[in-house]
Amino acid sequence: MSVWNWLRSRIARVAVWRRRDRDAEVERELEAHLELESEEQRDSGVPPEEARHAARRAFGNTTRVQEDVREIWSAIWLERFARDVRYAARSLRKSPGFAAVAILTLALGIGANTAIFSAIDALMLRPLPFTAADQLVRIYSIQKGMFNTFANPDGPSALDVRDFAQRSRSFQNMVAYDTWAKNVSFGESAGRPEQMEVGLVPAAYFEILGIRPIIGRLFSEDENEEGKNYVAAISAQLWRNRFDDDPSVLGRKIRINGEAYSIVAVMPNVIPAWVEPGRHSEIWTPFPYSPDMWAESGRGERGYAALARLKPGVSVEQAQADLSVIAAALAAEHPVDEGVGVAVKRLADSRVGALRPMLYLLMGAVSLILLIACVNLANLLLARNSARQRELAVRAALGAGRGGLVRQLLAETLLLSLIGGAVGFGCAEIGLTALARMHPENLPQLSSVGIDWRVLTFTLLVSLVTSLLFGLAPAFMGTRLNLVDALKQGGRSGMSGRSSQRVRSLLVITEMAMCLMLVVGASLLIRSIIRLEGQNLGIRQDHLLRGRIYLPPVRYSNPGVRTRFCDDFGTRVRAVPGVMGATVTTVYPPNNGWTQMLVIPGHPVTRLQDVPTAQFGVVDQHFLRTLGIPLIRGRDFAEPDSATSPPVALISKEFKRRYFATEDPIGRKIHIGPPQLPGIAVEENITDDVDVTIIGIIDDFKNAGLAHAPQPQITVLYSQHPLVNGGFKDILVRTASEPHAVESEIRSQLRALDSDVPLAEVQTIDELVERSTGGRRFTTVLLASFAVAGLALAVVGIYGVVSSLVAQRKQEMAVRMALGASHGNVLWLVLKHGLKMAVIGAAIGLCGAWAAQKFTAGLLYGISPLDPLTFAGAPVFLLAVAAIACAIPGARVLQIDPAQALRHD
């Protein structure tokens, strides 16, 4: 860098020196010539004084000659260009306000677009890191009106996938796989365990993705059989972190759920987290197909992830048609498949999942910002150049060629764009860092996004074209203009003042319209996120910590042992100082538990679709007290309810409303488990086919996710239901002060019970809620900042138009005031113009926002996309801001002294 600077200064100095030298020489040459000329004149008898004048006259413009000569010697266009740039820099420095606003406008447009499009490119446009990735598809089950209440695409069952694979002709290979959270410890000894996601994958999973191990081998076919499955593949990341890239890692053991698996392969870090159904896996083991997995009763057990590779030349549509026929056949053969369809989706399209519409919204919003920025730039340049008409005319009169003028405006425009681009690049860097920091849980890819140079180039080009279009058009018009006219117009600067004013007004109206759309969108999103997060979960939400444990079946095969462990754990935690209460449970808001089929007296059913269902939770006796869920009638679980006493249940208000609308449910018995329907083998639910007695009604709580109304809830004791007393449990702890303060004490209590069971996913309920709204908040924050940016740009736009209006019509105002108009009248004249633009813009913007409702509808919660308050408030807000932006330059009217202003012209 310093060498370059030195070199440049050297070259510059030499160039300057040589130029000065030559200038002097040319002058001397011309001077000598001139002398000779006048001597000759004198010789022919002309008086000396007159002779000299005559010589000069004959000679013409010496400066012009000097310039021409200089031009010949200079490295012509380069030096001329440098001169233009220097000149441009000087003229920009002379109007710092214009330069700053123009550069900021450009920077904002370029920066925001580069950041967002870089992110979007990385999230959903960039090709997948797999060979022939366009052949990769996912297969989903679509269940219409069945047990999946929320209409999300769900995974098929293993049997479905087997039949799809056997009967279809569109695929090279197809695989069902899954991930599970498991307790993992490294090394031979049982070290401190962690809960990690473990992928359960047949070798075909890697084959379909086209991934070879770095070292080691893929799983063999018989390793998919139960008992032979104690082999594991680890990621290169894990290899580095835990084994220091040691090649002798093959054959080493890791303990998963208390059992030893030997490492047979290290896989490259190419599988993105979103390919796996749970969170990111670093360990994969074979998918042990138990013999009963292929029994027909497993057909309804959906939820596996399914991946397939299309045959070359087969389109997704063909594959979809192929599988749809098969799915229809399966539905006809197996009643449990009735109403179950299939969907084939490109793997690449599944990467951002539910956030896709939000990203599209952001893309739209940020494009609006670029548009507004360009409009603003156009506006600024128009204003500046029409104000400079006179300067240009003077220059032309002094002999500047038209080419020179255009060249100079071009240099100014380019300089602006380049500085704007550079600042924009900085903005994009900052923006991306901020994006990565916001880091919504469901977009882990975001942390590795870098600036996309293509996007930067694109946005730079767009703004450059805009600058050229609006920076040079007036230059062409301007240089063609009649010099005399422009000079005669005097103070009233501006060619065709009226038409340029009209163009600028149109631009401001456009800005206002786009800005209003952004404001409406942002406020709708902000209001829905406030609603979403401010919702009453139906529990006391503060000071509530949760953690997850998993009791592996190897050592906890007996439900009685599991019950004892959970009871002991709860008792120990309740004894920790600072803990007000604790409960071990499988259900807590806002998460959904699992949906359970029931048999309720008085609700006879003949069809699977009509079977009563409820959200189901197994808990201990401290559930209500710890969460703070009010008991409405009846009694809570109590000490006497034990494994040996009759099973009891609590139902929610919604449950009563739906299934016991008129009768008193307390004391009634219901059956937990599916009804006996002819011809239907339902193994859909984990169930213990037992009757429970309803002992109490509790208040509703959010049991189906934040964005959905509470569903019917039934809650039972795990001690009384051995078959649903599984290994996964959560502990919820109510604390007196900061919840995380007791975390380490809870861990040590758990370690005291079993050092091989880790406490995972420790977070407060507040954090859980916040995380589950992370994606929305991310979009909202971005959209809000776009709205603010758009607003700022629009304010600058309207301010600029009004202030140049004031400047142009100063004389007119002065005349009006001299003739008796009050200050107020004149001020209104100015404000009227500004507000008219704002009103028209706002009206158009409202139409735009109305038209955009179908894009926003899916992203909102608890608020209509045509929310009247927002649709009324946003324009009022915009008009208020516009009024202020007009009033500031408008106030200058008040300072007009008519006498002075009139004399001035």
């Binding site: 040319v26 010539h33 000329e37 000679f59 013409g60 413009n61 000659v65 021409d68 000569v69 010949i72």
Partner: protein, 118 residues
């Protein structure tokens, strides 16, 4: 047709001035004033050499290497002038320009050939 008494001043074609200057310098070194005067005299004042064209042309040819310049004392006056002289490259250029000029003149003459009955 202009009817004023001064001889018609004809604008020189681009490149023609170069040729005339080179041709003038064929007789020996000369400074700008001499070159201009020489051209005017030899064409009976038909061709006026504007200073505004002469000096840029001289410098252009100097830059192209057809002529070189040196400050020398004039023999008749006690003053230094910038004398230009032809280089070998300049001589070649002159030959080229002359042949091109002849071609051009011949071509124009063909077009302007008197028509029968004229």
């Amino acid at each position: 047709m202009p009817t004023n008494k001064t001889p018609n001043r004809t604008e020189l074609l681009q490149g023609t001035l170069d040729m005339l200057i080179l041709r003038t310098l064929l007789f020996g070194p000369a400074h700008g004033h001499q070159i201009a005067k020489h051209i005017q005299r030899t064409t009976d004042e038909v061709l006026q050499v504007e200073h505004g064209s002469l000096y840029p042309a001289l410098h252009r040819m100097e830059r192209k290497g057809w002529i070189v310049a040196k400050w020398e004392m004039a023999k008749d006056r006690n003053r230094e002038f910038k004398y230009y002289r032809l280089t070998p490259g300049g001589k070649k250029q002159l030959v080229r320009e002359q042949s091109r000029w002849k071609q051009l003149a011949a071509a124009v003459a063909t077009v302007l050939r008197p028509v029968r009955g004229d």
